[in-house]
């Protein structure tokens, strides 16, 4: 599927997605992460492109969360480089941070603030220009308009997760990182997630999500990566993969 920049169509119509040239959104080069005595990521190379939805699978301890944290600039690589939206994480971390949105296991929310106040806080931190309208838009998208003035402490886990997703896309990031987004989501949340993933794709955003649920991964993503012992051992379109084979591969470790 190697399309050269000269061949890829640049369409301007509203109905179709705009294909940008095949410049990677994320470029990871020989990434290594070591925690004193043990290595977690080993000389990993990876490229992610705009509009892609990528599922990162792997057994527990394979390094999925570590990789996500490094991409999120929360953790420094031991060696190697990571470039996101044209900026190197060790050279221009703040420029990178402005381009990424993260949904993790912890909601990264302030429980004693209301939903709206949380969004206002992060909108200010990210320098979102159209703060007012953007917050309204997000609240509507995640279905929490009616609860905007309620403190997050009163929210269920599903609602908190939805607000966390809203927080993550507030600043229209080019890269969305999701750590096991399927866990902790209620039905409404799953719908919200699907809506947002679709929205990311149409705006040319990239999505990388880790998950334990193979079915979810294969159903939601178009590209599947398998992380094993800190290396990518499988990188294929979701359509070419079989759930049973994958399951066997994972459980045989």
């Amino acid at each position: 599927m190697n399309v050269s920049p000269l061949e890829s169509p640049l369409l301007a119509s509203d109905d179709e997605a705009v294909f940008t040239p095949r410049v990677p959104r994320v470029k990871i080069t020989r990434l290594t992460k070591r925690f004193e005595r043990r290595g977690v990521i080993r000389a990993l190379d990876l490229e992610l492109f705009p509009g892609e939805r990528v599922a990162l699978l792997g057994a527990n301890g394979a390094g999925k969360t570590t990789l996500l944290r490094i991409l999120a600039t929360l953790s420094r690589p031991t060696s190697g480089s990571v470039s996101i939206a044209g900026h190197l994480t060790h050279k221009a971390p703040d420029k990178v941070r402005a381009q990424i949105g993260v949904v993790a296991h912890q909601p990264y929310l302030y429980e004693d603030l209301t939903a709206e106040e949380n969004l206002r806080f992060f909108a200010r931190m990210y320098g979102v220009a159209d703060e007012r309208s953007r917050i309204d838009e997000i609240l509507f998208m995640i279905g929490l308009i009616s609860r905007r003035d309620d403190r997050v402490r009163t929210f269920s886990r599903g609602m908190q997760q939805r607000l966390a997703i809203g927080r993550a896309i507030l600043h229209r990031p080019a890269l969305l990182l999701l750590d096991e987004p399927d866990s902790g989501l209620d039905r409404e949340g799953a719908r919200v997630l699907e809506r947002i993933l679709g929205y990311q794709r149409t705006t040319g955003g990239t999505v990388l999500m880790t998950t334990h649920d193979l079915r979810f991964g294969l159903a939601t993503a178009d590209r599947v990566l398998l992380l094993e012992n800190g290396k990518i051992v499988l990188d294929a379109p979701a359509t070419t993969l079989n759930e049973e084979e994958l399951d066997e591969r994972l459980s045989s470790r």
Binding site: R42, N229, G230
Partner: protein
């Protein structure tokens, strides 16, 4: 091969240094305990001065080295600077303890008390606490990167703090002058100065000798961890290329 034994030139340097230290200290001890005249006011008890003062010098020298190494570690992130810093800090802690103890033993016959809150003693006591904090945060920090970073911060802050402590205790004391403690009498006879200088040199060499030993050990500790890492990597390779 990752694990290297101490290089031979370091061993030779260590031995030469050790020899020099032993000789200089021996001369210094002779000069201080026998050659130098008995102090007019304090008598023979004053001779502890030839150990106490050099030890204080070493304590502060060690701290200065910690400060420089700490800055370099925060800047360069290379573990060698942390190895130097923590080696010097350990030596510094030991010598600071000795200074406080010898100071006490000196003070008892001279001032009649084990302790007094003058600027020098108070500053030394607080230096001891800074060293303590240095090691406490290392112990509780978790991984070695954090331990190194956090203790480096303590080293840097502490270094700027020490002169400020000294000054503020001094100022405070001018309003509460208690027994004026003179460490050295106004004009030290030439023999005393010579003895002191030799002892200072001896103790400095001793510090360098200890540093080489300690640094070598700390370096090996880190190399051991590197070796364990390399081993686990090899095992992982074996699994993946199956």
């Amino acid at each position: 091969m990752i694990v290297k034994g101490k290089s031979s030139w370091a061993s030779s340097l260590g031995m030469v240094l050790g020899l020099l230290t032993a000789i200089t200290m021996a001369i210094g001890m002779y000069l201080g305990l026998v050659y130098a005249p008995k102090d007019v006011i304090q008598g023979n008890a004053q001779r502890i001065f030839y150990i106490h003062v050099p030890m204080a010098w070493v304590a502060f020298l060690a701290f200065g080295v910690v400060f420089l190494a700490a800055i370099l570690y925060l800047w360069k992130r290379a573990l060698i600077w942390d190895q130097i810093a923590r080696s010097s800090a350990e030596i510094g802690l030991v010598f600071t303890t000795l200074v406080l103890v010898t100071g006490s033993f000196w003070g008892r016959p001279i001032w009649g008390t084990w302790w007094t809150w003058d600027a020098r003693l108070t500053t030394t006591l607080l230096l001891w606490f800074i060293f303590l904090g240095y090691f406490m945060i290392r112990a509780y920090a978790g991984d070695r990167g954090r331990a190194a970073t956090y203790s480096a911060v303590i080293g840097i802050i502490g270094f700027f703090d020490v002169p400020i402590i000294y000054e503020s205790v001094n100022w405070w004391r001018t309003l509460h002058p208690e027994s004026v403690v003179s460490v050295t009498s106004a004009n030290m006879p030439g023999e005393m100065v010579v003895a002191l200088m030799v002892c200072l040199l001896g103790f400095t060499l001793f510090y360098l000798y200890l540093m080489i030993q300690k640094f070598g050990i700390e370096r090996m500790k880190d190399q051991l961890i590197d070796y364990q890492y390399a081993l686990s990597e090899r095992e992982a390779e074996g699994v993946t290329t199956a």
